[in-house]
């Protein structure tokens, strides 16, 4: 059995082994192996290529841009996605604009340990995929399975553009698989995680598993819910979403991020604009509440969508 977190570690080990241009830079990722141990032993296995950084997110990310210009393929670990706000400018205005401005690619993989876990509170829980997806020049991945954590991270390192890799902390240990995948869907392609003909649920990251649990619940009630795992939120695989809505006629977009804007708004807006005639009922969204992510588990469990609230939203929508 291999966990989602181990898959991320294995992908980095393979990337380091296969490509001399790859190196990893971030806080506490060397001998210590990272705050979550995502780089465990890599510093020992690949001497000089897994470097501890000072607490300087802007400079860490800016240095990655320079190294990429010189042909390297840096993997940057930001200790928590929430701290990328202090390196934000180098990501959205430097890395993301380089290729368009100069024609020189900027292959950087930025690993953002993302999303909520009980007790993490307002500053160690954020889901920032929707924020980065707004900027031209970035690819934004949100792997929801052990297989994708591995194969998408490898693909991220191979891609010539900056990739925001939103790995979900809640899945680090919870999620296990028998083995690592040998092949995978390419980035930019969504996956039908569960087939169904009554309702299409579009989601990603940790919410995929809440949605699947809710779908199981509705199966008891004889509803067949189709669940689409986006995998990549930019580009957004609109064709797969539309094809599913064409089958079901109903759409629910579920996200862990805040309710204004973000992935669920983009999904619903695209389906409404391009698949209007396919809809038999109003498309719906379910997001977290519009406050910072609360510390106390009681509050946190209510702040974000759960199998229970998702199931309720599914029922509401199926009754329309």
């Amino acid at each position: 059995m291999i966990t989602y977190l181990e898959a991320i570690r294995e992908a980095q080990a393979k990337a380091l082994a296969d490509d001399p241009r790859v190196y990893i830079y971030g806080q506490d990722i060397g001998a210590f192996g990272g705050a979550f141990k995502a780089t465990k032993n890599l510093a020992r296995e690949f001497p000089g290529r897994v470097l501890d950084a000072p607490i300087s997110e802007d400079a860490i990310l800016g240095s990655a841009v320079g190294a990429a210009i010189e042909g390297m393929r840096p993997i940057i670990e930001i200790q928590y996605a929430d701290f990328s706000t202090v390196g934000f400018n180098q990501i959205v205005n430097h890395a993301a604009t380089l290729y368009w401005r100069t024609g020189v690619p900027c292959p950087i993989t930025i690993r953002l340990p993302s999303g909520g876990t009980a007790g993490s509170g307002p500053f160690h829980s954020q889901s920032m995929e929707g924020l980065y997806a707004m900027y031209p020049g970035l690819i934004v991945m949100t792997p929801a399975t052990v297989e994708d954590a591995y194969s998408m991270l490898l693909e991220a390192v191979a891609i010539d553009d900056p990739v925001i890799f939103c790995e979900h902390k809640y899945l680090y240990y919870h999620l296990k698989a028998d083995r690592l995948p040998t092949e995978a869907l390419p980035a930019g392609k969504a996956r039908i995680a569960r087939m169904g003909r009554d309702l299409t649920v579009v989601t990603s990251g940790a919410m995929l598993h809440e949605c699947l649990a809710a779908a199981d619940e509705l199966a008891q009630e004889k509803y067949e819910v189709e669940v689409v795992d986006l995998r990549t939120v930019k580009p957004l695989d609109t064709d797969t979403i539309l094809a599913s809505v064409a089958r079901t006629g109903r759409l629910l977009a579920v996200g862990e991020a805040w309710p204004w804007g973000g992935v669920t708004a983009e999904v619903v807006a695209r389906v409404a604009a391009e698949g209007f005639a396919l809809l038999d009922a109003p498309p719906r969204r379910l997001n977290a509440k519009d406050t910072p992510v609360p510390y106390h588990p009681n509050l946190w469990g209510t702040h974000r969508p759960t199998a229970q609230t998702i199931a309720r939203a599914m029922r509401d929508l199926l009754r329309l």
Binding site: Q27, D28, G30, A31, F32, A35, D52, A53, P54, I55, S56, D58, A59, Y80, D82, F83, T85, V86, A118, G119, S120, G121, P122, F123, H124, W258, P259, W260, R284, R285, L286, N287, K289, D290, T291, P292, P294, Y295, H296, P297, N298, L299, G301, T302, H303, P305, T309, R312, A313, D316
Partner: protein, 345 residues
């Protein structure tokens, strides 16, 4: 907010400064040990971050600041918080997420404060609080409230943030009465100082901002109290920002989840590795300011106070998601009703 002060040291006024400081340190140490044990028992979700080995420095800040001053503590400042006047209950309630705590279960552990009483609640992003303290001091200047100072803390790792630099420079340009206390405890999480900075002494940065710099042995309570009061007087009297760098060692993991196996034996064996609490106790005994009996009775009092607080808080209700007001705005009329999930009422 002085009640807990009185409770811990009934005759505080008469009692020697050093004794009071020691008793706050002791209370902080024992309180954090209690939080750590609750964490190990699975009674605290999230993390527990302790100031073990840094109590002498931290308490000196709290004792040097006066009523009306500003304090923005960081993750290792339980002692300073208590001495500044933060009720013991605030810490326990925030760790256990009680709805009666200052953060009402919305934020946790070290992310607590009472802005209205000059105690700023840290956000996690290192360095971010320094400019906020600058802002409070600018406000005091606008309001014509002189003689006020503001203190904030950071680890040596936090000095690598752009936020630290911008705030120090701004404070220097505005010549604000800011005490910037840097606890160089040799590690930032697992990262040793040689991977964090390359200057001989962090104190050398003071000249680069045009401000006063002070260095102190962070394991020596008397030295910390002395240095802090000198720096505070200078700041209070128009001397501008003061950078205080204390040298010590983190005598715990980064958090209670961390066994800190990476901390070098050499450092542990070095003077930096001394436990400031033991040092302070030894001093009190040596000076005859306290007897072994005093020490153990203070300890018992502190433990009892902690047990009471924990018992109280454990009886308190956790936050209730159903009665929780799910809005981040002070302005009710501007709440975006449509941003609520469809299934919400």
């Amino acid at each position: 907010m002085l009640d807990s002060a009185l409770r811990v040291a009934p005759a505080a006024a008469a009692c020697d400064h050093l004794t009071t400081a020691y008793r706050w340190m002791l209370l902080a140490r024992l309180l954090e040990e209690k939080m750590a044990s609750l964490y190990r028992a699975g009674k605290i979700t999230g993390g527990v971050f302790v100031g073990r080995g840094q109590e002498a420095l931290s308490v000196s800040i709290g004792m040097t600041l006066q009523k009306g001053d500003i304090f923005a503590p960081l993750i290792r400042d339980q002692a300073g918080r208590l001495a500044f006047g933060e009720p013991l209950l605030d810490s326990v309630r925030t760790y256990l997420g009680s709805r009666l705590g200052p953060m009402r279960g919305r934020d946790g552990n070290v992310h607590r404060g009472r802005p209205r009483e000059g105690l700023l609640p840290m956000i996690s992003h290192l360095g971010a609080m320094i400019s906020a303290v600058c802002g409070t001091l600018i406000a005091r200047r606008f309001k014509g409230e002189g003689g006020v100072i503001g203190a904030t803390c950071l680890g040596e790792g936090g000095t690598s943030t752009g936020a630290f630099h911008e705030a120090m420079n701004l404070a220097a340009v505005e010549r604000l009465p800011l005490l910037m206390i840097v606890a160089n405890n040799q590690y930032a999480y697992s990262t040793p100082t040689e991977r964090q900075f390359a200057c001989a002494h962090l104190c050398d940065r003071a000249a680069g901002y045009g401000i006063a710099g002070h260095q102190v042995d962070g394991t020596d309570l008397e030295a910390c109290l002395k240095t802090l009061s000198i720096a505070a007087d200078q700041a209070r009297n128009g001397g501008g920002p003061q950078l205080i760098v204390a040298h010590l060692l983190r005598l715990a993991g980064h958090g209670e989840h961390d066994d800190a196996s990476y901390i070098s034996e050499e450092l542990k064996a070095s003077p930096l590795g001394r436990d400031c609490l033991d040092q302070a106790a030894a001093l009190l005994l040596e000076r005859g300011w306290a007897s072994q009996a005093d020490l153990s009775c203070w300890r018992d009092e502190a433990l009892q106070q902690i047990e009471e607080a924990v018992a109280t808080v454990q009886r308190e209700a956790p936050p209730d998601p159903n009665t929780e007001h799910w809005s981040a705005l002070a302005t009710e009329r501007l709440i975006d009703g449509h941003a609520l999930p469809p299934e919400a009422p």
